[in-house]
């Protein structure tokens, strides 16, 4: 901790402490970053920038939050590309974005995961200091919801030497009160915050290869009309399966050929990804869905299929 404190204080004096957080819309990234920002601006000598970045994406979509803190006036306004602290709020998001991109070799990772720091470092190929906390389990216990953000916030206030966890907790109450939450919910959040301090684990690791997580250079916009901001992608390049409830996926099974070709799943799948083959008697026979790439696990097909051929199953990821 000593080393970190020293490094952070020189960063704050000479440059800026930069934090980046990745999560899904709804996983509490914005609340964590806003809370940290409101704690930091209470210190009059600090300059703070905080903003979430999300496009027109909706519930379940990956979102990113940025926070810059410095004792010098902040003149940059660009996104943070090389954060000293990278926060991963939801393991589901790691399927869609690389939360480690651009983090320097002595960077810090704060991960909401059931894995140990060593396991996480191996899985995500990380080098630096890795903190892990099982925020979802703590959230489930105190809030009855698998929400890891409060635990991550508590852990961050403990790591960043600018904050004292007890004071931070009081500031956090203020943030929650502003959101007009009922007192009972605020109390539950406080208990969760307190319980989370000391529930984390950390390790210094070196698992990243030289080519892992490197920043992609700017390759230009290609042949594009004026004003276009990114390369023209064809449809079907936006892999939306990362929206699915973290840790679960759709399962289709029809060993006894029960599918009667009613077509309910085909007309009612919002993503239009039900796969079928023509069938001489029933018209069509459903064979599955494009689960790996696009299924958002909205559960419509599960609800509408009269033969109950669709279900939800745990997602087995290859380590």
């Amino acid at each position: 901790m000593e080393g970190i404190a020293k490094k952070f204080s020189s960063l704050l004096e000479d440059a800026a402490l930069e934090i980046r957080a990745d999560g899904k819309a709804g996983s509490g990234v914005v609340l964590v970053m806003q809370s940290l920002a409101s704690m930091a601006i209470a210190d009059k000598s600090l300059h703070v920038q905080e903003w979430p970045f999300f496009s027109s994406a909706r519930r379940g979509a990956p979102i990113r939050g940025y926070l810059r803190i410095s004792r010098r006036p902040l003149e940059q306004s660009s996104p943070i590309t090389e954060p000293q602290i990278s926060v991963m709020m939801d393991e589901g998001v790691a399927r869609a974005v690389d939360f480690a991109v651009g983090v320097p070799p002595d960077g810090i990772y704060v991960l909401n995961t059931t894995l140990s720091p060593e396991e996480a470092a191996k899985k995500y190929k990380l080098t630096g200091r890795v903190y892990t906390i099982d925020g979802n389990a703590l959230g489930e216990h105190y809030l009855k919801k698998p929400l890891g953000n409060i635990s991550v916030l508590a852990l961050l206030t403990a790591i960043i030497p600018l904050f004292k966890p007890e004071e931070a907790m009081q500031k956090f109450v203020g943030v929650l009160k502003k959101r007009r939450l009922p007192d009972a919910v605020i109390d539950a959040n406080m208990n969760l915050f307190e319980a989370s301090l000391g529930k984390s684990a950390f390790a210094d690791v070196a698992c990243a290869g030289t080519d892992d997580h490197s920043l992609a250079g700017f390759a230009g916009y290609g042949e594009l009309m004026p004003g276009a901001q990114s390369r023209l992608r064809l449809s079907r390049t936006n892999l939306t399966s990362a929206y699915a409830r973290t840790g679960f996926r759709l399962h289709f099974e029809d060993p006894n050929n029960l599918c009667n070709g009613c077509g309910h799943c085909i007309t009612n799948c919002p993503e239009n990804i039900i796969q079928f083959i023509p069938d001489p008697t029933n018209g069509v026979r459903v064979t599955g869905a494009e689960i790996a790439s696009y299924c958002k696990l909205c559960r419509e097909c599960i609800e509408v299929c009269p033969k109950e051929l669709f279900s939800e199953a745990p997602l087995q990821e290859s380590m």
Binding site: S235, N238, E300
Partner: protein
Amino acid sequence: MAKIIDIIQRESCFQPGSTLCAGCMESIAFQNIGKITDNGKKTIFGLGTFCGEVSTLQFPNPVAWGRGESTPEDWTKSFGILHHVFESAPTITEAIRDTVDVLSSVGAIKSDIQTISMSGDGGALAIGLRSLLHTINRQARIVSFVLVNEVFANTGFQYSPSASLGSDTSTTPATELHPGNMQPPLDYLGLAVNAGAGLVAQVSPAFPKYFLKVVETALECKGTAVIFIPSPCITGWKFADGETVELARLSCETGFFPCFLKKKGQPAEIKFVERDAAKRPPVEHFMGPQQRFQHLVRKNKETGQFEVRPGKEAVVEEIRTWIQTKLDALYRMA
């Protein structure tokens, strides 16, 4: 008239990859419209700004538009998209129609092109009502889809003039003293009929066969066809995953969004909903699963049934009266 089993096997121009919420009804409507319109003619869609536009077109990336593996050079032969400002989808589509008609009359276009406008209920019934009504009044030969989710979803679930009585929106929050929105919703079906639309319909993809019939009839219509699609909004109405289609069905059966079809000069057709309140499922069945009505309806812990919260009977009675008045007015057109 095409058979539904053939329609569902078509390749829709609405592809996976949108950033709409999981389970969004706008998405379900789009993929079905994309299949029905793929009938050999080219289609041009004029889109206003709403969830269904910002989450499917991220300039310059048509993330959710295309046709299978075909390249933009190929798919633009079968459909095109014009995105314009929030409130003007019907009028810009009318402009596309006029352009097509002029080009056809000089022989520059050989086959007919279908022109379709799409907007949200905020875009069509609040800021854009002017655009919609004047397009209808000019009898422009377009099909205008309005996705009615009762709120301005894209900007944060603010009240829209179609918001149901008693609904909690971010600008008409339900409090101890105030039961959410108490402004009776705009009679948009009546307005469109009286403005002289060639066809006015309200239909949900939850009734796939009827949806297909209505959309195909609208594509044949010589005047302006306006189709309102009730669109349960999972994030704004706040209900559980997987209930979108079920709620769309209930929204019709309980009378909130009766299925309706009226061609100009002909009696209206009202479907899947009883005029007699005693024969309809109670409104609580539709309201109960949605958090935006939770200040009015709750689940009885013992029976598991939805029931009106004590003290809120008067508000719910007002909702029932509003629904009955609306249904009676529609039945008078039948």
